[in-house]
């Protein structure tokens, strides 16, 4: 019997040593100073630590989690040629219906195509002749696009320099990107999400644009206003706009005196901070939102949302010339206005539908500062060069359109729209308008890494800043320790020395659980900490069951050692059954749960597994030792 107990102690000791080893790396890593971490990193030995520590989830470490999905309607639109009204109608209907019923887009599209007399072969080349074949072809194309998109994103992330990025495929058309510990979230988001579709597109003539703006004003004025997305133009909204304008109404007359945006140069500066005045708004609901900025259509930052809403209005959409579309400038431009204040404007560009040249011909892209003497002197720019095929097209394009504006468009955002002054024969071009060198570098990266093979859209994003993550860890640890102390105090108070035994088991349980997490390279999240705290409650339950049973047996007059063995034996079935059912729940959560729930389930699961060992095996060993060594007659329980 005594020997058996020695074996038990050896087992506990071995497991403790193993746990200590597993946790050593984590403890060492977190005790290092920044200097020491940097030293190890240069030596290349930091990996040894990083691969052995308990990984922190994005919510504790800071970072971003993005789920992207191939935008099927856009993909189909991009692949199609000869986009007839019938083709576009079916595509748009399917998009709307899928969104409304939360159905899979492709199922809806398939159904709609099959219910119509649309012949897909007229729109797609090389995918077959029957509608069914072409539909399957499109689906295959989308799946292939996912793998290629992952490759492109990986390239970009690698060049950006993120440690341990995780890029995974999920479902049929989804990609999950996880970047831990990044500091500049805005930049990372842009970098990943940008399609990197580069196009050179000619602007429409100013006269055509002017005509459109007047048409929209008329359309909105003549009682059609109810059409205009009612939720954005309700009572509350217009009163806010009205109040603002009364507060700061400066340029009512000036604005009224103008005939259009194109000539509003002198007056535009005066209406700083004024969204729009009510009267002008009534008279010219659309153009009153616009300003003239260097003879281009400027939209004050605060009006951007409203202008976008108007442009999305179905009635207004019909007024847009069929061969053209509207694009926004990538960045806002700050302009000094009359009274010395500055205001930011986005520029709205009216461009051709068909690009004059695609960015796929671009072979090199690098960021630099604009050379002295040039217009962009000292400004960050991205230089590009094209292959010979691209250079040829570019030469033709520039040669035929001297005097016109050519927009350089990346992902539907206009970076710059210079006037074509001379024919450019060598295929060199540049992008300007970046806010800083970082932005220029990022653009060069995405251009080099290549365009995403299909438009992808972000369907889920969770981003946590590094400081919030740190706060969460601090709070988590504090609460965990508090809970541990409260429960330990209670157990000692209620069960005396036996309670101390349970307390020891509890601490071992925490150590073991963390060690298991480190060994499995599991990720600790905030809900995971909650799960860990909850196992504190679960872990003492086993001891409560045992102690209560021992008490019962003692009351029945059994000796200490008999009461202990009967207590353990009788409590065992209840402990096993109750813990196994909880383990089952945790398993289900691990399988079906996503993100936070999964993190919770992992710690709960391993916490319970380890608690069964500590609460039953470890405490029993110590009881045996005390009973045999000291032949005790009374038990402190």
């Amino acid at each position: 019997m005594f020997k058996k107990n020695v074996v038990r102690f050896i087992i506990i000791g071995l497991i403790l040593v193993l746990a200590g080893y597993a946790l050593f790396w984590t403890i060492a890593y977190h005790s290092f100073s920044d200097q020491k971490l940097e030293d190890l990193r240069t030596k290349g030995t930091l990996d040894k630590y990083e691969s052995r520590i308990i990984r922190l989830g994005l919510d504790l470490q800071g970072g971003m989690h993005i789920v992207m999905e191939v935008d099927m309607p856009k993909l189909i639109e991009t692949l199609a040629s000869n986009k007839t009204p019938q083709f576009m109608d079916i595509l748009n209907e399917a998009t709307a219906e899928a969104a409304a019923n939360e159905e899979d887009f492709f199922d809806v599209y398939r159904r709609k195509v099959n219910n119509s007399d649309l012949k897909l072969v007229r729109h797609f080349n090389g995918l077959g002749f029957k509608n069914e074949d072409i539909l399957n072809g499109l689906e295959a194309e989308a799946k292939d696009a996912v793998s290629r998109a992952m490759e492109v994103i990986r390239n970009r992330v690698d060049q950006f320099g993120v440690s341990e990025p995780s890029i995974q495929k999920a479902g049929k058309y989804r990609i999950i990107v996880e970047l831990a510990g990044i500091q500049d979230i805005g930049r990372a988001r842009e970098l990943i999400q940008s399609t990197a579709l580069l196009e050179f597109i000619l602007l429409k003539d100013a006269a055509v644009t002017q005509q459109f703006i007047s048409a929209v004003d008329n359309y909105l004025k003549t009682g059609q206003q109810t059409d205009l997305a009612p939720e954005t133009r309700d009572e509350a909204d217009s009163t806010v706009a009205l109040k603002e304008s009364k507060d700061k109404a400066i340029s009512v007359n000036e604005l009224l005196g103008e005939t259009g945006v194109e000539t509003g140069l002198e007056s535009e500066g005066a209406d700083t901070g004024l969204v729009v005045d009510e009267e002008i708004y009534k008279e010219r609901p659309f153009s009153s939102l616009l300003r003239n900025v260097d003879n281009q259509i400027g939209v004050p930052e605060r009006n951007v949302y409203a202008v976008k809403k108007i442009l999305e209005n179905p009635g207004v959409k019909k007024l847009i010339p069929f061969d053209s579309k509207f694009l926004w400038s990538a960045n806002a431009e700050r302009r000094t206005v009359q009274d010395g204040a500055t205001e930011s404007f986005y520029i709205l560009y009216h461009v051709n539908n068909e690009p004059g040249l695609l960015g796929k011909y671009v072979t090199k892209a690098s960021a630099s500062l604009g050379g002295s003497g040039s217009q962009s002197s000292g400004q960050p720019i991205v230089n590009m060069s094209m292959n010979s095929e691209g250079a040829q097209i570019f030469a033709k394009l520039t040669g035929a359109n001297i005097g016109k504006q050519l927009a350089v468009v990346l992902d539907d955002k206009v970076w710059t729209a210079p006037f074509i002054r001379v024919k450019i024969p060598d295929g060199s071009a540049y992008i300007e308008g970046m806010q800083d060198m970082n932005e220029a570098k990022d653009i060069a990266i995405v251009l080099r890494a290549g365009a995403l093979p299909a438009p992808v859209k972000t369907i889920e994003e969770r981003t946590v800043g590094p400081s919030l993550g740190k706060d969460s860890i601090d709070v988590g640890i504090r609460v965990g320790v508090l809970a541990l102390l409260v429960v330990m105090a209670f157990m000692f108070f209620y069960y005396r020395r036996s309670g101390l035994l349970a307390d020891m088991a509890l601490i071992l349980n925490m150590i073991f659980t963390m060690a298991i997490m480190a060994m499995l390279r599991a990720t600790l999240t905030l809900p995971g900490i909650a799960g860990l705290v909850l196992t504190i409650g679960m872990a003492v339950d086993a001891n409560v069951l045992i102690f209560e049973r021992i008490r019962e047996e003692l009351e029945r007059g059994k000796t200490v050692s008999a009461a202990i063995s009967t207590g353990y034996a009788r409590a065992l079935s209840a402990i096993l059954d109750s813990n196994i059912t909880t383990l089952l729940t945790a398993l289900i959560l691990m399988q079906t749960g996503t993100g936070p729930v999964k993190g919770f389930a992992i710690t709960l699961f391993w916490g319970i597994v380890s608690s069964m060992f500590t609460a039953i095996f470890v405490t029993r060993t110590f009881y045996n030792w005390r009973v045999e060594r000291h032949a005790i007659k009374t038990l402190s329980i």
Binding site: I459, E461, L468, F490, V540, S573, T585, L589
Partner: protein, 293 residues
């Protein structure tokens, strides 16, 4: 030896009809509220966007709302979460990178000041909802099967009804007080199920044992004896769980809602262990006497 509960002999089964009636009334209130007010689903399930941001200068909720309304961003839920720090939830429908830009520019806030940004598309929301329901449903089935194997069929019925009771009571609290239901809440629901089941299994384990010891006693009596014998353990364990949950209540944000769910759920769980699970098994046994014991 300190004892919270001395040896007791309460006639729990006799009282259970009253107890069940009380529970049914509470659940009925919950169901009415569920129909008329529904649940306050967070963006995890409805889709939408959540910002947590810190301003450089003090701003009021009204001020933020006014600015957002001017930018046509409406129906936001704005909460203060710290000094100059706010959580803003924008419902689904305004989804898109345009929204993030619009919020950032209208509130004049930089990326560094946004400490948390969550965007969930409507499709994802629907999927998460489905996954959550599936998880709860599965866990019920798995528990039921496990109990039916380890004990007997009528115990599985007792367990499932008492678990259903706990979840419905917790749901009642969530709909009446319009607490936010998020992914974390689902985790809480499942933990409640786990805890409540623990209690119930401990009692049933005693019944299993006592059925062999007291062969001549009536089934009701054995159930009463077992509940009384395990009463002190039930209360001690639930107290420790309660202490832990109280500590979790100190953490702001989602964890607090999780803790509220846990508090309610663990009280309901203790109660259902005593008044629902046992009695249901007894009633079932009485109904189908031959299959009992």
């Amino acid at each position: 030896m300190i004892r919270i509960i001395k040896k007791t002999d309460f006639p729990f089964i006799n009282f259970s009809k009253t107890a069940i009636t009380i529970s049914l009334i509470i659940i009925a209130i919950g169901m009415v509220s569920l129909i008329f007010r529904g649940l306050n689903f967070g963006i995890d399930f409805t889709g939408g966007t959540l910002f947590q941001m810190k301003f450089d200068q003090p701003r009021t909720i009204e001020d933020i709302r006014a600015v957002l309304t001017t930018a046509n961003i409406e129906n936001c839920i704005i909460q203060k979460s710290g000094e100059n720090e706010y959580i803003i939830r924008v419902p689904q429908g305004e989804y898109g990178s345009n929204l993030v830009e619009a919020v950032k520019t209208s509130l004049n806030i930089k990326d560094q000041n946004i400490s948390r940004l969550e965007q969930v598309g409507p499709k994802i929301g629907k999927e998460l909802r489905g996954a959550a329901l599936l998880a709860i449903f599965f866990s019920f089935i798995v528990m039921g099967v496990y109990i039916a194997i380890r004990f007997q069929f009528q115990y599985a019925i007792g367990v499932i009804l008492s678990l259903l009771h706990d979840v419905l009571i917790t749901l009642t609290v969530f709909t009446v007080f319009q607490l936010e239901v998020s992914l974390t809440t689902i985790a809480a629901f499942l933990t409640i199920i786990g805890y409540s089941l623990n209690d119930t299994i401990v009692v049933f384990d005693r019944v299993r044992e006592n059925l062999k010891l007291h062969r001549n006693e009536a089934y009701e009596r054995i159930m009463d004896i077992s509940i009384n014998e395990t009463l002190s353990r039930t209360i001690i364990t639930d107290l420790t769980v309660f202490f832990v949950v109280l500590c979790l209540l100190l953490v702001p944000g989602e964890v607090r809602i999780f803790a509220i769910a846990m508090t309610v759920g663990s009280i309901a769980g203790t109660y259902s262990t005593i008044y629902i699970a046992g009695p249901v098994v007894v009633f079932w046994a009485r109904r189908f006497k031959r299959s009992a014991k």
